[in-house]
């Protein structure tokens, strides 16, 4: 019983991280049609910056946690916007619509190389900023709750932003029909870069809170982003509600099975999940089936 509660809380916590990655992927996908493979690496950047800037226990020269949070979020937002601009640039000229596959993976490789220069190839043990609460006979870090709350907050905020503000509405319009939005006179490039920036902000917050939950390592960047994709696809690509539901379910499933069998089964299991979902229901659980135009 206790074990089940721990699996549940930890699973939901790590699932929330993947749900957040999935939502950040959705934001960009809806506005640009791009699946940004560099987003795993941006999560690593957020984690590394949190590690570097976080107040150490001695307290010497340390910053308040909220300042670190804002600084990390701001930097990742800017890096993401820059990366977005570099991704969108070749797409505007050529006839090739798939250059983004190369450019986003290339960006991931370059950012990863820089991260290795900064911290080396190791898994960072990020500190838990909020202390512990007792649960089922153990001490459970509050970050597991915090990251789950963050996922809900981000979901609500995105929804609110897309309905309340003109810019949000315009972003929403891009997701409905990119060409029509262009024809309607929406200047798409700034909006698309904005979508990268929003995704960056989400990843900044996630990296700060989620670093402790999943453990940050440069070598796992593609692993994060592919798990994020899996959650996004299971929930229905582009659908944030789907991601919010699919993330924790996916997280609990992985946590349960790796608890029983061992951690190395995690990625093969994730592969099985995506294969089964795509075979049975390619549009995802919450996705709409797009009629093919013939």
């Amino acid at each position: 019983m206790d074990e089940a509660v721990i699996i549940l809380i930890r699973g939901i916590g790590s699932g929330a991280v993947y749900a957040l990655v999935a939502m950040s992927l959705n934001v960009i996908y809806n506005a640009t049609g791009v699946l940004n493979f560099a987003q795993g690496q941006l999560l690593v950047v957020a984690g590394v910056l949190t590690y570097l800037w976080y107040p150490d226990s001695s307290g010497a020269g340390s910053l308040p946690w909220i300042a670190v949070l804002l600084a990390v979020t701001l930097v990742v937002t800017l890096v993401s916007a820059l990366q977005g601009w570099l991704t969108l640039l070749p797409m505007r000229s050529g006839s090739d619509q798939h250059s983004w596959i190369i450019t986003t993976i290339a960006a991931s490789i370059v950012i990863g190389a820089v991260m290795v220069f900064v911290i080396g190839p190791r898994t960072l043990a990020l500190k838990n900023p909020f202390g512990f609460f007792p649960l089922a006979g153990t001490q459970m870090p509050y970050v597991y709750l915090a990251i789950s709350v963050l996922a809900v907050v981000v979901h609500v905020a995105l929804r609110w932003f897309q309905r309340r503000y003109l810019v949000g509405l315009a972003l929403n319009a891009l997701s409905q029909d990119l060409d029509a939005a262009k024809t309607a006179g929406i200047s798409t490039l700034p909006l698309q870069i904005l979508s990268f920036a929003i995704a960056g902000a989400i990843l900044g917050l996630t990296g700060y809170l989620g670093g402790h939950v999943i453990g940050i390592a440069e070598s796992s960047a593609l692993h994060y982003v592919i798990f994020g994709f899996i959650v996004a696809v299971v929930g229905g690509l582009g659908n944030n509600t789907g991601a919010l539901v699919a993330g924790p379910v996916f997280g609990v499933l992985l946590m349960f099975v790796s608890f029983q069998v061992g951690g190395s089964v995690e990625i093969p299991l994730a592969l099985a999940v995506i294969v089964v979902v795509l075979m049975l229901r390619p549009e995802g659980i919450f996705g709409r089936l797009h009629a093919r135009r013939v």
Binding site: L35, A270, P282
Partner: protein, 604 residues
């Protein structure tokens, strides 16, 4: 590109029908073979073991990348699993020889078979999903592979890796040359030749159609799923072979050598080198492997940084990859106009013997309809696209389906050609109930189809575009096939992208006629055509019916064309046929007057 001036000798000589590699690809192929041979020969002569080893490994990667090139560019399947297939093949072979005590030959066979199995697994999702979904699944597979090795640590010795001792193949054949070097070079040249042969073959063009437009492929009578699996099989042969050669060359395997990074490298090599070209993977291996890994070995710490930056910069400057970019520069320097020209399909059909007309007349006497659809119903979500529609198409007639947008015209055409499964209703074709028959089966029975947007491949010649269906057994006897063979050489000299829009319609119709259809279904054939081109289309349709005796059913918005060309008109609205009949008989009906208002030919 194509540069053969063939127009003048067209009528005199029937061109050789079988050639392994298209003439304009030969130079690129020979150049590619020369490059890989020199890359191995130079370090061999100069005695540099380091460079020889690097070049041989580069050739191993080239073999796997050439296979992926076929899969990615010819069959348009986005696979990030090529490195995993190589890995499974290599690792299994190393285990078989190094641990289970197989002989090197049997171990290699087992490794190759295991690689093919992995390739088959990678290909199965392609039956269900395409595009980036496929990329994602294969990527997840490649990501999982090393983990699977670690999961079965006891069997795979994942932490230490597996050593394989040198065997007979590492012996010297003569001079400094060992057998392995000869084998690797031969395989690498073989993979280049394979790329050229597939690109030149009808099979390659079938892959192309199936990848770019599965529904177009189905209406040509191709089986897109099977073609995709075949493309994966070809790619897996290359990857498994590369895996076997990798073990023989490196003599050691560990899970870390076959991570997702290897699959990404191979994909990058194809796209950045120049997808679809023979020399592309060579250029890709040079800029992405040899330059960062071997050339700049002193900057080893910056290896990944350089690799990523090269990938971005090349795609930014040359979206078609290195070879594509170089080719573009070269052709702009030469300033030579590409061989253009037009296709005169209507004129070709005018020369038809009267056999077709007779067949048509005979059919009219019996009075049996060629195609009969009864009570077709189809629903998409809340939209009732077809609501108990019935239609009859006689032999040798042009039947136009008109109606407002969203009235179900295209859905009807799709239901007739088998692209849409109806909920209810029956379709008879030539007296046979074909309701349960899929699009491919209907195509085989003589139903051809074109689409609203022409499915024309700009980088192929006109003839290659026409001849991309399944091979036909009874082809040589009928007249239209002979006529098309007569213009084959001429059409093979015209790059399809030089054709104006109206001619692309003719090309699609020619592609359909190449299948010797008895019913030709056209979806908005006049869309985007100029008034003159519409006039030509009208006479072309008449010529098709006169020359082949086939019937034409078309969905069309251009009412003037409909009024002039059609024998029968069916007015469709809200998934039902409102009126059907000959233009003369229905011209006074109020539905027609309303719809055809403004068309001058309708007398008051």
């Amino acid at each position: 590109m194509a540069s053969r001036a063939t127009t003048e000798r067209v009528p005199t000589r029937v061109p050789r029908t079988r050639r392994l590699v298209r003439p304009e690809l030969k130079r690129e192929l020979w150049l590619s073979i020369a490059i890989v041979t020199l890359a191995v020969a130079v370090p061999l002569v100069s005695g540099s073991t380091y460079w020889l080893q690097a070049m041989l490994l580069a050739n191993v990667y080239l073999i796997a990348a050439s296979g992926l090139n076929i899969l990615r560019s010819q069959a348009e399947q986005m696979s990030f699993g090529q490195g995993a297939v190589l890995g499974v093949s290599a690792y299994t072979m190393a285990l078989a020889i190094g641990v289970w005590g197989f002989s090197p030959f049997n171990g290699a066979l087992l490794g190759f078979a295991a690689g093919m199995m992995a390739g088959l697994l990678m290909s199965l999702p392609s039956l269900r999903v395409q595009g980036y979904y496929l990329a994602l699944v294969t990527m997840a597979g490649a990501l999982a592979l090393p983990e699977v090795f670690f999961l079965f640590e006891d069997q795979t010795r994942a932490t230490t890796g597996v050593n394989v001792l040198p065997s007979g193949i590492n012996d010297i054949a003569f001079w400094r040359l060992d057998w392995l070097t000869i084998v690797i070079l031969a395989c690498s040249i073989g993979s280049l030749v394979l790329t050229g042969v597939v690109r030149s073959s009808r099979f390659g063009r079938q892959l192309r159609v199936a990848g770019a437009s599965p529904e177009a492929a189905a209406t040509l009578g191709l089986r897109p799923g099977r073609l995709r699996l075949l493309a994966f099989a070809l790619a897996s042969v290359c990857a498994s072979l590369a895996g076997v050669l990798y073990v023989l060359l490196i003599q050691y395997v560990a899970p870390g050598s076959f991570t997702l990074a290897l699959s990404i490298l191979l994909y990058f090599v194809v796209v950045i080198g120049g997808a679809g070209t023979i020399a592309g993977p060579i250029a890709g291996v040079v800029v992405l492997y040899i330059v960062p890994e071997v050339g700049l070995v002193s900057l080893l710490d910056y290896r990944l940084l350089i690799y990523g930056m090269i990938a971005y910069i090349v795609i930014f400057l040359m979206p078609d990859g290195v070879v594509g970019g170089l080719r573009r520069v070269a052709s702009s320097l030469r300033k030579k106009a590409e061989p253009g020209g037009g296709i005169a399909l209507a004129a070709l059909l005018m020369n038809a013997p009267p056999a077709g007309a007779r067949a048509q007349a005979g059919a009219r006497e019996t009075g049996a309809a060629l195609l009969k659809a009864e009570n077709l119903t189809a629903r998409f979500g809340r939209v009732q696209a077809l609501d108990g529609i019935s239609i009859e198409i006689g032999r040798g007639e042009i039947h136009a389906i008109v109606g407002p947008n969203g009235s179900g015209k295209t859905t009807l055409l799709n239901a007739l050609s088998g692209l849409v499964t109806v909920d209810q209703g029956t379709v008879w074709f030539d007296g046979e109930d074909i309701t349960p028959v899929n699009a491919g089966g209907r195509a085989a029975r003589g139903l051809a189809r074109t689409f609203q947007t022409p499915r024309v491949f700009g980088d192929m010649t006109v003839w290659e575009n026409v001849d991309c269906g399944p091979s036909r057994k009874r082809s040589s006897t009928d007249w239209i096939e002979k006529a098309l063979q007569g213009v084959r050489a001429q059409w093979d000299g015209i790059a399809a992208h030089t054709l104006p829009h109206g001619q692309r319609r003719s090309l699609e119709i020619a592609r359909a006629l190449h299948r010797a259809p008895t019913l030709l279904a056209l979806d908005e054939p006049a869309a985007g055509l100029s008034p003159a081109e519409r006039q030509e289309l009208s006479s072309l349709l008449r010529a098709v019916v006169a020359a082949t005796g086939a019937s034409v059913v078309m969905v069309e918005h251009d009412l003037e064309l409909v009024w002039n060309a059609a024998d029968f008109i069916s007015v469709v609205d809200a998934g039902k046929v409102l009126v059907t009949g000959r233009p003369a008989d229905i011209r006074h009906m109020p539905e027609i007057r309303q719809l055809f208002a403004g068309v001058t030919d309708v007398p008051g």
